[in-house]
């Protein structure tokens, strides 16, 4: 086997356990989107064009609350801001590849492909840029087709589920389940705490703007506390 093919397979295998999360998550998105009034084609177009689960859920929720377009976009894009870090981190490894390679990788830059690629680069720092790219796309092949297919399955199932199944609460549960494992340090806990407290206090602000204020201050609280703790250690 060529080094590229083995790198591709290593990426594929390393990302394989992640299908346990990606599949049900996409399924749930399909169900919730159709329950919110989107048809199957709209749901699929949404999943294919945006291809970022958490922000798609965030957009669904704020649109259901009839928030204005700008608030919906600000909220959903805020959820995706972490990918700036992914883009920064990957850039030096792939800078020498042709632009169309990097443009394609950008579309497929998700939590799973990023995590897999960085872990593999850690393990084998001597890989060429082409091998690293093969690892990246191995991970993509493990999760992306599943994301699309499971969204479709969810959209088709969603049309068959009667609306009185408390599915209004599928979104909150999913978001809380995503956040809980991230609460691994004091600053993360503080950010989440400030976020909850302020969003409740500011729930009366018009057009869901309270959410944006709460999230901004919570972000600053987390970053500020991290900096302060580092300062004390130093």
């Amino acid at each position: 086997m060529t080094p590229h093919r083995t790198a591709f397979l290593r990426g594929l295998l390393a990302a394989l356990p992640m299908v346990v999360v990606v599949g049900p998550f996409a399924l749930l998105f399909g169900v919730v989107a159709t329950e919110a009034g989107l048809n199957v084609a709209e749901t699929m177009l949404f999943s294919v064009s945006v291809f970022a689960g958490a922000s798609q859920f965030a957009a669904l929720q704020t649109m259901q609350e009839n928030a204005p377009v700008l608030v919906v976009l600000a909220t959903a894009l805020a959820v995706n801001l972490r990918m700036v870090m992914y883009s920064v981190t990957l850039a030096p490894h792939f800078g020498e590849l042709p632009l169309r390679s990097r443009a394609l990788m950008a579309y497929f830059l998700v939590d799973q492909s990023f995590a897999t690629t960085m872990a593999e680069i850690d393990r084998r720092p001597a890989m060429t840029a082409q091998e690293k790219r093969a690892v990246f796309f191995g991970a993509v092949v493990a999760v992306a087709p599943l994301w699309f297919l499971a969204s479709l399955a969810g959209a088709l199932i969603g049309r068959a589920i009667p609306p009185d199944y408390a599915l209004d609460f599928a979104l909150p549960i999913t978001f809380l389940a995503m956040v809980a494992p991230m609460l691994r340090s004091l600053p993360h806990l503080a950010a989440a705490g400030v976020s909850i407290l302020l969003s409740l206090l500011l729930a009366g602000m018009p057009y869901g703007t309270g959410l944006l204020v709460a999230a901004s201050i919570a972000m600053a609280a987390g970053a500020g506390l991290e900096r302060w703790l580092e300062g004390r250690r130093a």
Partner: protein
């Protein structure tokens, strides 16, 4: 129900914005390091946005007309607790969903 005209503006704009975020540094050859305060803040985006997104709906669910609902509140707390304890998103979803349906069936 989602307003379709909102959806048809949000979807392409969110797609373009998300792509721009992903392409930002990867696409511009740049290995320019970001300032420290910025990377530090970016680390906290998810934990800052997602709880604010759900907290009001957990305490005052739209489905019950804003009345605090013990079943939904307990389900949220169980989800959070199991997620923190197991570090597993799937386990947290299953535990929270199970709690919700069990309590709704009991009180329903």
């Amino acid at each position: 129900m989602i307003d379709k005209s909102t959806f048809w503006i949000v979807m392409p704009a969110l797609a373009a914005g998300t792509y721009a975020i992903r392409f930002s540094f990867l696409g511009t050859l740049g290995a320019r390091p970001l300032p420290g305060w910025l990377t530090r803040s970016l680390r906290y985006t998810a934990v800052a946005v997602l709880p604010a997104l759900v907290a009001p709906g957990v305490l005052w669910p739209a489905a019950t007309g804003g009345e605090t609902d013990p079943a939904r509140l307990s389900a949220a707390l169980v989800t959070l607790a199991v997620g923190v304890a197991t570090r597993s998103t799937m386990a947290a979803i299953l535990a929270g969903g199970g709690t919700l349906f069990a309590l709704l069936a009991l009180t329903g």
